[in-house]
Amino acid sequence: MSVAPSPPARLQMRGITKRFPGVVANNHIDLDVKAGEIHALLGENGAGKTTLMNVLFGLAHPDEGEILIDGNPVQIADPADAIARGIGMVHQHFMLIPVLTVAENILLGAETMANPIFLDRNEARRRIIELGKRFGFEIDPDARVETLSVGWQQRVEILKALYRQARILVLDEPTAVLTPQETVEVFAVFRRLAAEGHSLIFISHKLYEVLEIADRITVIRRGEVVGTRQPAQTNEDDLAELMVGRQVKLAVDRGKSHPAEPVLTVENLRVKSDRGQEVVRGVNFNVRAGEILGIAGVAGNGQDELVEAITGLRRSTGGAVHLAGENIAGWPVRQRREHGLGYVPGDRQKYGLVLGFPISDNLVLTQYYSSPFARGIQREDAAIEQWARKTIEEFDIRTPSWSVPAGTLSGGNQQKVIVAREFSRDLKALVLDQPTRGLDVGSIEFIHKQAIRKRDAGTGILLVSAELDEILELSDRIAVMYRGEIVALVDGPTANKEEIGLIMATGGRAPAKELPTGTSGPAAEPPDTSVRGGTS
């Protein structure tokens, strides 16, 4: 794809400055995006990417600076104005109505009318199919959105923008919710869009993705542009350093693990989903003290239910969970915690925190009733405050005070609050569910280091993550979950990414591999995979 050297650029943002009380979110930011270009915007959480895009989309108005489209200065008053000027936004959290069809969602707010009263559904349907074909994905306009996978829902979002004739597409962390396979597919769509002359602004903090897809990369730190690179001239380490402002170790030095006896043993565990389907179908594995067992798998293969059954949020329908020798299946959450189980939940805002509570209260959310934080039913506020001050310092939680609501913190710092709470106890086993989802490299580095430290202190860690890279980086052993079963168990340090990716996608097992020593527990038998196939 060659970009015709025809100035002016499709979009120019010149000297954009946006101040909020106490902070300069954007400080004289320049950004230009050419027609047919995929321009990545890279930066840590809170660097100012979102503010800049809000300015572009008319959700915020800049204090200084100007925006030019095709060389003409424009004032963007509100999102409707932005859409009218050909700017489309695909949000990280989809703005779709699940019970409506694809066509209905796309039409919402941009109705194609047959006459003043009725929609022209046929015309709309025709245009949607045509758009889909043009960009390489055939979509059924009559499918209900809730029946679509996340990857396809995202395509509906993109179609929504295209239907409104967007020429500049802002993609806010579009891959955050996708599996590796879906990412590959959606990247093909992006390339097709660019080839057709659309300008794409790709917001992400996944460095390797940015390097793979972008034509140019602009890095923002603390509200300022700190550099623009072309993928050929840079690499992940360079970008990470630009982003964070210091050298970042992308791969944690994990050292050698010294696994001891199994602390968490799952035997023939069966769990049902909310809809009553058995989504964990006889899972067996064990986690030994001082090791990290990673569970890889495409999201939705029963990992959530497995984690909930182990931690007590969901009832299991069969099998056993042994924690330090006792069968804890059927125990209430608190009893499991008191027996030495820690848990960093996958959805930190829904499960991990009470956003309206001060940081201090969140740091004792699971231990508030025990000494020294309480005496009888009386809270010991002084002890809680002291603990909070100490923990905030120790886990480097960036906050003006221990008393501010947790909801005011950035995502990375919110996660640090949870990590601080769960890691600072003596634990036998620790469940980490998507521990770094949506976090920037600095926070990821920190949390990975803490996990290794906890491992070396003798805790058995179960790591569940949709990020295969994270699994590969941390795990001493890797189990692959597919349709509710563990279909493979391989050694971590020697694991092959492509091979595991293939097992994740198909459930097919690679040629038998010698299991690492010491797997005394019931290891997974390779199930009959011949009848299954295809991605889910």
């Binding site: 931690t311 949020l313 959450v333 499960y351 991990g352 209260d361 959310l365 009733y369 809270r379 506020d381």
Partner: protein, 373 residues
């Protein structure tokens, strides 16, 4: 320190403005009432005259102040019955039913212990009222915790059930002979009589004690921590090992106990349970709780404010010839502005409250949301 003060000010600004707006709206009605009243003339100063006599009626004499406190007493209790529930994410519309059941139980027990010394009769009757109210709260709490039935729906149903059942019982089984209208027998020594020559009674003390107890419970104990955690984020509470079901049942029962005590106070002050016991203290509790931002101290102040309006209204009617019903209007309009906080913030161009509006979400979110997993 300044930040702290400012946050308190921010906390009170919407209630204060809501009151102001309600007084303005009521002014229009007062002027209109002048047009159709006896004098039939346009008097733009009538609202000022009315509000002045309202103030004088409530604060102009020791008797007025006593009346204000007596009127505020049950409102404190029903305010807590709604406010503590809001802290747990529960919208207790059932204070009315809990008040009636509490009052009825107090009346029945009161007749049984009518001959006992006052220091036995009174506490026993009050306690009976509390327990009955707690039962009326326990039922919707239990239903919510174990079936997911929304407390707004069940408490409204229960209100009707309690009201009709109790009035049926008073008309029949428990009707005391020798009176020209249906009522229960006198409660004798359990009656809350005025102290000295004022209307102040011992029930005031019971209500006043509940305020600091609630404050302590909510903010200084692990139980209160659980109540607030369940109210703010039930899934996180479950994750943390709390038991949201138990907390919902406990909180609803506690709310019922407060309301039941409020009913007991009102009935024991009257001395018997009348066949028609129409009281608005249950619903007024909603206004008090929202005006007081579900904070026990705020509830105390809000109850006193509403009590003052009740106490001052008769003088307003006499002096300004403005009907006492205008008080209900003011109260209703306050409630509307409080519930539609966004409107108030728009009118006065205030910045949004950020994280402080959990109680409002409780009353405005849709019914039937699954809270307990």
């Amino acid at each position: 320190m300044m930040a702290r003060l400012r946050s308190y000010a921010g906390f009170m600004v919407v209630p204060a403005l809501s009151i102001l707006l309600a007084l303005l709206v009521a002014s229009v009605l007062i002027i209109a009432s002048g047009l159709i009243g006896e004098e039939k003339r346009l008097n733009l100063l009538l609202p000022l005259v009315a509000y002045r006599s309202l103030l004088v009626g409530a604060f102009g004499s020791f008797k007025g102040i006593a009346n204000m406190i007596v009127a505020a007493t049950p409102l404190m209790l029903t305010g807590l019955a709604v406010g503590v529930g809001l802290k747990a994410g529960l919208f207790n519309i059932g204070a009315t039913g809990q008040v009636l059941l509490g009052g009825f139980a107090a009346a029945l027990i009161g007749t049984q212990v009518a001959g006992a010394p006052i220091w036995i009769a009174l506490p026993v009757a009050m306690l009976g009222g509390m327990l009955a109210g707690a039962l009326a709260g326990f039922i919707p709490g239990f239903l919510k915790a174990f079936t997911g039935a929304h407390e707004v729906v069940t408490t409204i149903m229960l209100n009707a059930l309690v009201q009709l059942t109790v009035s049926g019982l008073v008309n029949d089984v428990f009707r005391a002979p020798g009176f020209s209208f249906a009522r229960t027998a006198p409660v004798g020594n359990a009656e809350l009589t005025g102290v000295g020559n004022t209307t102040l009674h011992l029930g005031v003390l019971f209500a006043l004690v509940c305020i600091p107890i609630s404050y302590w419970l909510l903010w200084r104990t692990t139980v209160g921590f659980e109540i607030r955690a369940v109210g703010s984020n039930p899934t996180a509470a479950r994750y943390a090992g709390m038991n949201p079901r138990r907390m919902i049942i406990f909180t609803m029962s506690l709310c019922g106990a407060f309301a039941g005590l409020g009913g007991a106070v009102e009935i024991l002050r009257l001395g018997y349970y009348p066949a028609v016991f129409g009281t608005s203290i249950g619903f007024d509790g909603i206004t008090v709780a929202l005006l007081g931002r579900s904070n026990p101290v705020g509830i105390l102040l809000a109850a006193l404010l509403l009590g003052a309006m009740r106490a001052g209204a008769p003088l307003m009617q006499i002096q300004a010839r403005v009907p006492v019903e205008i008080i209900d209007v003011i109260q209703g309009v306050i409630l509307i502005f409080l519930a539609a906080e966004v409107v108030v913030r728009q009118i006065f161009r205030l910045r949004s409250a950020g994280t402080g509006t959990g109680e409002l979400q409780t009353i405005t979110r849709s019914y039937g949301e699954k809270v307990v997993g």
